[in-house]
């Protein structure tokens, strides 16, 4: 069985936990994923099954889309609400923020931005992953700043009670949504951290095609053949997994 399996990951498990569960469910060892989704994030996780593990490079380069909720007024060490709170803005300051101000700041954050990568990330400094330093409480001073691209930004709402802005956006490879949320808070002068993150696209796939790990387990147990057909739209056969590649049909002997 060779192809791409589209999982709608729930909040909580790591991407590796999902891979391990699906390996057990399908009884297939050769499964990997194309692009980590943090434990606190939900949504589309692209799994590569069998020979499809060889196409990871060509899927990792694809742009991704997310729905993100940024909590304004809170700055944490991980740039999301699972981290240690470093700074909190007073409620009076936050209550003065208007929806128009927040929307304007959000919409100004389209394009290529130079942002510091989150210290809780797998980006390497001096040969070591940043999160390894962070877990020891020994964050290097030279945390890399890199160009990150965000586009197709849609402002979806502002909650004046929880001080949360909801946004849908697309990003290029190597861009961190947590860094974007942190920068939004900085620009508004109150700090900001990602409270909710859901991946909706990992080009060329959409979360609407994906199913939960539990649904995969149920459908696989009830299957009639050893093909991925029972998984419906969540299963993409290997020849169709790179639709942006030109399709060239040849006779086997060519």
């Amino acid at each position: 069985m060779n192809g791409v399996l589209l999982v709608d990951k729930s909040i909580g498990p790591t991407s590796h936990d999902v891979v391990a569960k699906v390996r057990r469910a399908l009884g297939i060892r050769s499964i990997g994923h194309a692009g980590t989704l943090d434990p606190m994030a939900s949504g589309l996780l692209v799994l590569l099954v069998g020979e499809a593990t060889k196409i990871s490079d060509y899927l990792l380069n694809g742009d991704k889309a997310y729905e993100v909720v940024v909590r304004l007024g809170v700055r944490t060490d991980s740039m999301d609400m699972t981290g240690l709170i470093l700074e909190e803005a007073p409620a009076e300051t936050l209550s003065r923020l208007t929806e128009a101000e927040v929307q304007s700041a959000v919409m100004a954050m389209a394009g290529t931005l130079e942002l510091q990568v989150p210290v809780h990330s797998a980006v390497k400094v001096n040969g070591k992953k940043l999160y390894e330093f962070a877990h020891r409480g020994d964050v290097p001073e030279d945390v890399p700043v890199r160009e990150m691209s965000f586009y197709d930004i849609e402002f979806r709402g502002w909650n004046p009670v929880t001080f949360e802005a909801t946004v849908h956006l697309r990003s290029s490879k190597g861009s961190f949504i947590r860094a974007w949320g942190n920068e939004l808070g900085r620009r508004l002068g109150v700090g900001g951290s990602v409270a909710v993150l859901r991946r909706t696209e990992s080009q060329p796939f959409h979360v609407g095609q994906a199913i939960s790990v539990e649904a995969i387990q149920e459908r696989w147990e009830a299957r009639k053949s050893r093909s991925g057909e029972c998984l419906g739209s969540a299963w993409v056969e290997l020849p169709e997994a790179l639709p942006h590649f030109l399709r060239l049909e040849i006779e086997a002997r060519m």
Binding site: N2, E51, Y58, L242, F245, L248, I250, M254
Partner: protein, 57 residues
């Protein structure tokens, strides 16, 4: 089909799809009888296509 090698027949077929002035698109080679993915071909700037991945059953 092996890593790095492209047969004359496949080369001729690829040339039919290359448009002058356009960057060559990456290609997936499919077995027309079984519908199986055989290989991925990528052309680097200034170079002809090379086989980058080969797939087995």
């Amino acid at each position: 089909m092996r890593n790095g090698q492209i047969s004359k027949g496949l080369q001729a077929e690829l040339l039919r799809h290359i448009k002058l002035g356009e960057a060559p698109k990456p290609v997936r080679v499919i077995n027309s009888e079984e519908g199986r993915l055989l290989a991925l071909l990528i052309a680097q700037p200034g170079e002809f296509y090379k086989i980058r991945r080969v797939f087995v059953d």
